[in-house]
């Protein structure tokens, strides 16, 4: 049984956000084993079923990258570099191992750097295919079996179908709670700010799933109880990007006079809006969800009849969000050196704009030094939205 989370929801979420890793460190001292991972494409259900607490490795936008440069090239995605830098600096000294997926070049091509430099007791690369056809799904399924066997050996215990089914259920409950949370953002003004959601979602990927679910539930109750305390602002914004592991950029938008009411991000809607189906062999459901159910730029989907339909297949969920959450404008926020999302920009931008929603595309470097420039661009975009 997991510990009861102390304190009120938002305050606790903020504590976990500010002291990221603190809870995992406590659990480690209590004898639990902690498995680090990078990216939402790692099937945390398998890690949990093996008896580990999955812990998402995150960077720190306020911490200059220094140590990482002695092992990792500066042409790597700055977020990955920051994650590695924090790891080298001992921020995540409690990890028993690391699991890295074939998500993108910046993550996958640095696997050996992570593995050999950190020298953790366990490491594993999940070789996820890019394509989503049936042969790719079968292959990926076999890869997950390999991962399961490998992790089981390291854990010293069998990962049973029963335990997998149980963790699948726990994570699906967790995702359902996040979706319930997002419902609170649909009103105008929203009941919860984008920055509050960002702090919560970043914080909960570093704690056990049961605690995460309870915390999100606490936040939902707290927000419902406080009612409409947030002021009306000039625009409702959706943020789209790869991974944002801090609230700085969301704060920036909200300090500039808009609410961030929905996103297509990790952590965020991209990873919490699709469930693992319950299947006789639980690995089947996990494979299906992680390969086909997460709409990430790194995954290649076969083209449908017309190009417009194809764009809908890739970006239709963004279009649906803009309607459901009454979005006035979309900000594409993409880090430098991000090939999977960088190549999406013209197509994604044209698709969203063709549905009548203005788009601002920003490229950033995962650094506080760019805040001034970003603020100017955001303010100009909000003025543009206001004049429409």
């Amino acid at each position: 049984m997991a510990e009861k989370v102390a304190g009120r929801g938002l305050a606790t979420a903020n504590k976990y956000y500010q002291d990221y890793g603190g809870r995992a460190r406590e659990l480690k001292k209590q004898g639990q084993r902690i498995m680090g991972y990078i990216c939402a494409l790692v099937p945390v259900e398998i890690i949990s079923a093996a008896g580990f607490v999955p812990f998402r490795i995150k960077g720190d936008v306020n911490e200059p990258i220094t140590k990482a440069d002695s092992e990792m090239e500066t042409i790597v995605c700055p977020l990955v570099r920051s994650c590695f830098d924090m790891s080298l600096k001992g921020k995540y000294e409690f990890l028993d191992g690391i699991v890295i997926p074939h998500a993108c070049d910046s993550i996958c091509r640095t696997y050996d750097v992570w593995k050999y430099t950190l020298n953790l007791p366990y490491s594993h690369l999940i070789n996820m295919p890019h394509a989503t056809g049936d042969s790719s799904l079968s292959f990926y399924r076999a890869e997950l079996d390999t991962f399961k066997r490998s992790l089981s050996r390291f854990a010293g215990r069998e990962i049973s179908d029963e335990s997998l089914t149980q963790t699948i259920s726990l994570y699906n409950q967790n995702r359902a709670k996040v979706r319930e949370l997002y419902e609170l953002r649909k009103s105008s003004p929203p009941l919860i700010s984008g920055a509050e959601v960002a702090r919560l979602l970043v914080g909960v990927v570093g704690i056990p799933v049961e605690e995460s679910t309870r915390l999100i539930d606490d936040v939902i109750e707290e927000v419902k109880q406080r009612g409409k305390v947030l002021p009306t602002k000039s625009a409702r914004i959706m943020v789209v990007g790869a991974q944002i592991d801090n609230a700085t950029f969301i704060d920036l938008i909200e300090d500039s006079g808009a609410w961030v009411v929905v996103d297509d991000l990790c952590p965020g809607a991209r990873e919490f809006f699709s469930d693992v189906a319950v299947t006789p062999d639980p690995i089947d459901g996990i494979a299906e969800r992680y390969l086909r159910g997460i709409y990430c730029g790194r995954t290649f989907r076969e083209k449908r009849e017309s190009y417009y339909e194809y764009l809908g297949q890739r970006f239709g969920h963004i279009g649906r969000f803009t309607k459901e959450f009454k979005v006035d404008g979309v900000v594409l926020y993409i880090y430098k050196y991000c090939d999977p999302f960088g190549f999406e920009v013209p197509a994604m931008k044209s698709y969203i704009e063709s549905n009548g929603t203005p788009v601002l595309y920003l490229e950033d470097e995962y650094s506080m030094s760019t805040i001034g420039r970003l603020r100017t661009r955001i303010q100009a975009f909000l003025e543009l939205l206001g004049s429409k």
């Binding site: 002695s70 390999t146 194809y310 190549f343």
Partner: protein, 447 residues
Amino acid sequence: MTEEKKEEERKKRSTATEAAAKIGPMVKAMIASVLQARDEGKPIAYTFICCCYDEIMRAMDIVPHWVENYAGICGAKRDAQRFLEKAESESFSRSLCTYALCGLGFDAWREELGQMPPDAPWGGQVKPDVMLGSGQILCDPRNKWYQAAQHYMPNVPVYNVGLPWPPYENDYDYREVQGYYIKYIVEELRGLVAFLERHIGKKMDWDRLSQLIDLTDRTWNLIWETYELRRAVPSPMGTGDAMNTMVPIVFMMATQQAYDFFRELNEELRHKIANREGEIPDEKYRLIWGGGLPAWFALTDFNYFNSRGAVFPVETTYRMVEAVYNFDIDLSRISDPLEHIAWRWLKYWTYWYDKARKRPGSHPDVERLIQYIEDYKIDGIVMHEAFSCRTWHVGLIWQLNRLKEIYRDMPSLILESDIVDISSYNEADTRARIDAFIDTLEAIKSR
């Protein structure tokens, strides 16, 4: 063409071998043949190097247009900036792969004009009938480039071939998983054949495919044997030339032309070795090009190394073959041609795994460096970090660190610029760094 451009074209890198000097015209003819194929209505495919569909395309008479090659040509001719800027104007970040940016900028411009952009290098890049991408364990652009290109050519279909290989892990041997890797690759290749038959309207000639596979095996063996000749002291051929002779390896595989080219190169190297004729008259330092694609606009840097007494008998870049008779599987016994291709692919990528496992703390990439350092009597390592390519340029620093830890401390130099974007390059700075590196080598030699 402006006078400035003509001047730049005159500054060509001098080659050590006659074979390497023939490459320029060969590439020009290759590009011209694609343009001619367009006029003749032959099917054309956009393709990437090292995707193991060479034999499949050629057996079906599909004309490959190698997009990385064309971007490299634009870079080498110092005429890529306008295409990069066009891509940037389309909202592609300049930090992305500049091969892709150059190609996408060209395609966007061509489709906008309805004809080739003005003064397109060597006649330009034609609109293809199909685009063949690949999903590997490296290179996001191979997975994304053609999808992005469809924004400008929405009716050109894409097939993305899944081509994984097992990672090098501590807790299991790759042979434990190779069965399902092969199964997947074969299914993907079968899907490719079906895709091509559907869109090109021509059936696969399976007998011809088998013949071309045999030709490719023989070519791989010949290339490996030819490059091994470069172990000789003095070395008869350097990496500068190998950046030319990569053309038959990666753009002409499964053709008699590629095989014949290496037969001639083999003979030429044997002749040079017999006459003790090195790449340069007075070979002082033997270096390995230990990683990274070259700056195509600055190949004369290899001549600069030569002018300082340094030669490159070996490189890891573009040496993308092994002798198939050294694999732990007899490929000739595999009757299914697609399975043959799949096994060759997997055995190539796992070739150094067993050797690495024998040395504590080693890794296949590092083990390969060590083997080459010993076989080719290497004094120092040079690498190139191209800012726009994470595929081949991530892990270089780490490899050098590993090498120092498990083998020995070698003098090393990491040059920095790009494959296509000349704005990243500073000749004076680069050569100053080469000078300093040579000074280090000299100091070590004179100890």
